[in-house]
Amino acid sequence: MGKIEDLEVINGEGYQLTTLDKAVALARSNSVWPLPFATSCCGIEFMATMGSMYDLSRFGMERMSFTPRQSDLLIVAGTISKKLGPVLQKVYEQMAEPKWVLSVGACASSGGIFDTYSVLQGIDRIIPVDVYVPGCPPRPEQIIDGVMNIHRLVKHESMRRRYSQEYRHLLSEYKIEVTNAENDK
């Protein structure tokens, strides 16, 4: 959870001083809008995670958005075949920055037990992935732990990261050619 204590803050009586970076990052980490790219068995386990028993919306993930335009976190749950590769790439590229990718399940992370001619052996071949959740399918607690890792990433990300050199290098590695210059707004 977004505890205030572990940010470098100056605590006064009834107020806190922190950098804008930290405040915005904290706000973002508690209101991530996921895009559930649920294809197969992990999708049903993701439904169980959203169900009332494990309830992902306790962590600010209430609103599932199925358009990449309004989502920050791409949750890829299930097998991605080669036929689905371009679709996933397009959905990822059309998401607004800053964006994160959570790869749920062995199939999404590495092709899982389906080492066959038609399955993409892991989605990190076509899109950069931030957190991998092992399991086939992972239990809802594991998925929530993956989401917690994403929240930790979001909370400690500086606002300059998306303009940094290595992020641009990462994008070019995945053949995403960026058209705007280094840091024009």
Partner: protein, 428 residues
Amino acid sequence: MRHEKIKTTVSLADKQCMKMNSTDNLIRLSNGQVLSKETIDGDIATINFGPTHPATHGIFQNILTVDGEKILNSVQTVGYIHRAFEKLAERRPYNQITPITDRLNYCSSPINNLGWHMTVEKLLGVSVPKRVDYMRVIIMELARIADHLICDSIIGVDTGALTSFFYPFSEREKIYELYEEMCGARLTTNIGRIGGFDKDFNPVFHQKLKEFMRTFPAAFEEWNGMLERNRIFMDRTRGAGPISAERALAYGFTGPNLRAAGVDYDVRVMHPYASYEDFDFIIPVGVNGDTYDRFMVRQEEIRQSFRIIEQAYNNLPEGAFHAEVPEFFLPDKKDVYNNMEALIYHFKIIMGESEVPVGEVYHSVEGGNGELGYYLISDGGRSPYRLQFRRPCFIYYQAYPEMITGSNISDAVITLSSINVIAGELDA
């Protein structure tokens, strides 16, 4: 005078749509755009009911040609999560194919597992003791309840009743706990072994099953009462995506979708397996095969499955929980250390080298969506020579364009969730 026909710049969807059956009404414009006649003279739109879409609950694609809200034609593309199950099954030994089968219809995976075990038992010519049959019936009927719970709650979600998703899901979690007691997994269960079960029902399973049987009817009726006589739900679902009995038969429908169209075909009754003939249960049959009938047939089947579980649990016979199938059933550790055959069998099972007689067999069970069949050809080697799955979702999803042509887009959404197409089973 109808407003003057404006030259629309709409072009058809991508090459899948070009494969519409009547290619004679395509006109190629000067700028290379290909238009169908209707597009030019009417306000025909092409909407992509595509891979990532909240309403498809899975990964398949429909290119709908739409006039306003009315659907004129739908071109389907499937195979987006084709994982080559049949090729994979030719590489794995027999007892390792069970984890593949429970990823076919992952909403009710125990039915797939036990169906596969029965197929191999039929090939081996093994007859299992009565207790195993009753245990199998209990687990398969639990899986059927779980499958129908998901399908009917998704129909509720698509007609706007999101709470109708949360109520049955808590029941489904109880069924998950029962599976966990039996095999440790929630969804992809890999339950049982060829020839029976690896362990008997432990006391926690008995206690949880009794608890489930005590609380489930009330919780189910409460959820059912929300939807069944709900005015909005009935108006939305009655008459949505109808299919007649003849067309359903021609399209190879089986299971709840066929029974909703009025044909009472059920594999458990026509070819009883796992001693289903000992239980009495009725086969609910619909009248006009629309979404409301499919919903009601599934609700009634949940009640019938519950009755079967009660009968099976109340007179669960004593006896061994597995048959004498040494080449597939792991001997106990003390046998493995003491006598030679058990050690050899132990080694063979772990290395997957157990011999299987040559032959071919077709066995089918009543899955969550219809007749789930296994056509197994074995040449005696360590893995099947050819294993073909009869996947009900793949077979009846062909009828989807015919069911939605002429209806609105919102009807198409409910029809899709009411026929309960599971992507994993569709493109195995």
